[in-house]
Symmetry: C2
Subunit: 276 residues, 2 copies
């Protein structure tokens, strides 16, 4: 999915919600355990109940890998089930030397190779240029590079002063030379508040993937105030608050209710900037 198509979805759905499919076998409703692939069954019902309210789905690969081969199967089935009207993100935080990153690109972008073709992959920047650029060779595919994450550990290195700026600013500046706002986004945690203004100085046009709303404590309106640009420029992720809204038979219905609340708030924000 290219930038123009993503923007059309945002306008059509009046939403920039990304739903994180961090699906944990110990948290899903018990009755699903009778299905052959409970993880996929859960995701399927969540997607069926919410696909018109969100513009993206983001399975985090850790939850699938933790179940070995059957988890990887659930991940592939989930990718297959995500409708074409939704942007698909493999939240895998990969990155390695050049020839190895090429292999990761095949895993997540090349269906003939790894069985999946996500629109985007999250990538860690520590190894630099040649660990990131192999992912940018795929048409209409995106790198979503970690810049300033939502967790407490983000303070350890990302906020370190490096010369006249902090490390995450150096990451943005260098990465701006590797990709464009048509094939690269940045991860910026919703918990980072006023840092969004700094991010926008370095990356005024890029889309930002924003985790950390909900359980981690981030606030939607604050993120929009500092982080929105004229094309919206935000994909705001919510995982646990939506997918685990209930652990009964009504889990998908309750997930829809939670997603709807956020979508309505987002419609208001999109109205403020005149995009809808």
């Amino acid at each position: 999915m290219n930038r123009q198509q993503l923007l059309e979805q945002i306008k059509a759905k009046q939403s920039f919600l990304c739903i994180g499919l961090d699906t944990d076998i110990n948290k899903i409703p018990e009755f699903l355990l009778d299905f052959e692939d409970p993880i996929f069954e859960f995701n399927k019902q969540i997607i069926a109940a919410t696909y018109d309210l969100c513009v993206a789905y983001k399975p985090n690969t850790a939850f699938y890998e933790s179940r070995g081969v059957k988890g990887w199967q659930s991940l592939i089935r989930t990718w297959q089930y995500i409708p074409e009207t939704c942007f698909s993100i493999a939240d895998a935080k990969r990155g390695d030397i050049g020839n190895t990153s090429e292999m990761y690109a095949r895993a997540f972008f090349d269906e003939r190779s790894g069985g999946m073709s996500f629109d985007a992959l999250t990538v860690a920047p520590y190894m630099g240029n040649d660990s990131v650029t192999p992912f940018l060779k795929f048409k209409d595919k995106w790198v979503i590079l970690l810049a300033l994450t939502s967790n407490p550990g983000s303070r350890d290195f990302q906020l370190l002063p490096c010369g006249n700026e902090r490390l995450f600013e150096s990451v943005l500046q260098k990465a701006n030379g590797w990709g464009t706002s048509e094939n690269m986004m940045y991860v910026v945690g919703a918990t980072q508040g006023e840092a969004f203004a700094t991010i926008r100085k370095h990356a005024p046009d890029h889309f930002l993937l924003v985790p950390g709303i909900g359980v981690q404590g981030g606030n939607l309106q604050e993120v929009c105030r500092y982080g929105m640009n004229k094309d919206c420029g935000l994909l705001i992720n919510s995982s646990r608050a939506i997918i685990y809204a209930s652990n009964g038979k009504d889990f998908a219905e309750r997930a829809r209710e939670e997603a709807l609340k956020i979508q309505q708030e987002m419609a208001g924000e999109l109205g403020k900037i005149g995009l809808i």
Copy 2:
């Protein structure tokens, strides 16, 4: 495998060689393609031919993930086949917020969960403390944290001056507070030459995992001169130069010859420090 057991293996085998199983379906001998799982068959024959000459095997997960479900199966079979006398490293460069890193730990350390129980996992430091420490809760398991990697992109961020030191030094200092030399190692590329002296200032006792010998241009003797400590303190990895020494029927035999050359050089180095 704990540090004492690793050291015993190094002495017994007179080797600190790690063989990287970066197994690429397009590079293995053609006759193997007739096997049900050519990737595993290749690894099995490489391991059978070299396990007495090396102390560790390191499959890089990217090569397995690029083949989807069947690749993940090959990875699990490979882990199962690595003998107990060899330290096993999943070179996966993972790392995510706390609850997600716990899932990655289950994937690679908990056989009941993900089907594998590697001795060690490579981890990327960018997300800080809570992305690394969940892996340290497993007894006799190791985090091998990226410090200064072997690739050209290592210059982009790892060598950035941050205050009075460079970023990789800050990573070492912080990480020294998260783990110990009994459960943490650091990745330092063989191409980094004199930087080993700086690494040893910050981490005199830790083992270092050193990729980049051979195809990437690193030199064994130089690494030993600057990087060895009294317990050897090095696991030096070679991948392509060993496993692709031949692409004919003699590939395993030729891999053994290459491994033997390195092992003999290593025995000399261990003799110099009086460890054998």
